[in-house]
Amino acid sequence: MTTPHPSLSAAEIERLKAPARRDNIYRILSYFSPLLLLLLWEIAAQAGAIDRRFFPPPSAIAGTAWQMIVSLELFEHIGATLRRVWIGYAIGAVPGVLLGLVLGLSAPLRRVFGPIFAALYPVPKIAILPLILLIFGVGDASKFVVIAIGVFFLMFYNTLGGVMQIPQIYLDVARNAGATRFQTFRRIALPSALPSIFTGLKVAAGSSYIIIAAAEFLGARSGVGFFIWASWQTFAVSRMFVGIVVISAMGYFTILLLEALERRFVPWAKH
């Protein structure tokens, strides 16, 4: 409303709007607060207050990053990592969601087969990486597998939780409307579980980048994780920081993408 209310004075309107205006200022400042940290870092590094061997100033890191961008070296590593993450992610997520839906809808299947998943889930994915490297070799296949395993369990448990929280009344509605088993699955269980599935997709994306970094440390000739590890071996600390920033940004943009998809596909949920 931009038209002033006739019975309110200008001063009263000002007073009403003041808190909203203050909120706006805080929001704008919040975008810049991380930059303050970088600025302090830069000053401290330049002044010699922190050890430049471990914490090169952000300007030096930016310079290294620029060289790597110009030489296209950075994009090769980003491409290799992205390919591994997304293929592994897809291989893990699809069966995770499907099995989560099936076991969520069927109490007998859940009772009988649930313990298998419960027993395997706590195994740290990094701990089985050497085994996977042994079986699948040091190529991309082993990366797909280790990410798929991590993603599978997260998607399975998030979907299962989502399906089990479906209000009974929705299932009654479907039954009364004459839905078949498959229709109940497709038209009720899947949409009801979608908010939980998206939570799972976001958590799984975050954990995929953790797993791929570790996997590329140990057995890879390319990728951002390999590049961080190789920089450590040559004590190229600026390059190492570039790698850390890049892999963080990849995770961040993946989450942003998933959130945009969530707004598109779950328009009924409050965001």
Partner: protein, 266 residues
């Protein structure tokens, strides 16, 4: 001879009955406490084709259970339930049963879409029902944008969309404020008069039962059984406000309350 057959022999079934319930018993087993709870016992009633019947009773008396058995959502322990209809009964549920991921018109179309009715036919039929229930301008809204009264209108429209003969309503207006409830009662009466459905309507409100029904069945507390079957004499079409000037309305209110109060607590 089985007890069911004996009972049927004593109570001849009316020829024009749409619903027949004989000696219905329902019990639940609680595995944790190793306890059996009798929900209803010996429930007997019949509903004529095109009749509007309300079942009133205290909460927990098993009236919702009876309705869910009629709808085929729960199984009975013993007794007999017969529904003389070519189509299974349609149900309007107690709470918000509107599917939150579908728009109003998609919710109303839901039963049709399951049966593979063509989009064109769906659109036509949904348009009719949205007009009937006053939802036309909310066709593309999502349920979270609607008031409680609007959501229940969607439930009613969805139950009517595939034109089944029997309508089962489980306290559909229970969560609404009194004014909205009165409006929806008036609308429901209008819809019923036009469509001629057989309706079984569950409520805990004596007032609502008398406003809507041809007959009121009064249930006892758990284990529920029908303790009275009262005819409601008001002429149709009814005006839900004007009815309240009729002395018979208050006499019947008193009568039903007396029956509810007389039923012993278990």
């Amino acid at each position: 001879m089985s007890p069911t057959a004996t009972q049927l022999g004593r109570n001849p079934v009316p020829a024009d009955a749409a619903i027949e319930v004989r000696d219905l018993v329902k019990a639940f087993y609680d595995a944790g406490g190793d306890r059996i709870t009798l929900a209803t016992t010996g429930v007997n009633f019949s509903v004529k084709r095109g009749e509007f019947v309300c079942i009133v009773g205290p909460s927990g008396c098993g009236k919702t259970t009876v309705l869910r058995i009629l709808a085929g959502l729960e199984t009975l322990l013993s007794g007999e339930v017969r529904i003389e209809s070519a189509t299974p009964p349609a149900m309007v549920f107690q709470e918000a049963s509107v599917l939150p991921w579908l728009t109003v018109s998609q919710n109303v179309a839901f039963p049709l879409s399951l049966k593979g009715v063509s989009r064109q036919k769906q659109r036509e039929r949904v348009g009719e029902l949205l007009a009937l229930t006053g939802l036309t301008e909310f066709a593309d809204a999502y349920p979270h944008q609607l008031s409680g009264g609007m959501k229940q209108r969607v439930s009613v429209a969805r139950a009517l969309v595939d034109d089944r003969d029997v309508l089962l309503m489980d306290e559909p207006f229970g969560a609404l404020d009194e004014q909205t409830r009165l409006t929806l009662q008036q609308e429901l009466l209008g819809i019923w008069e036009r469509t001629g459905k057989t309706v079984v309507f569950i409520t805990h409100s004596v007032d609502e039962a008398l406003t809507l029904a041809d007959r009121v069945l009064v249930m006892s507390p758990r284990p529920g059984t029908i303790v009275a079957d009262l005819a409601v004499p008001f002429e149709r079409p009814r005006d839900v406000v004007e009815m309240r000037r009729d002395k018979r309305f208050w006499d019947l209110t008193y009568e039903v309350w007396r029956l509810l109060a007389a039923s012993p607590e278990h």
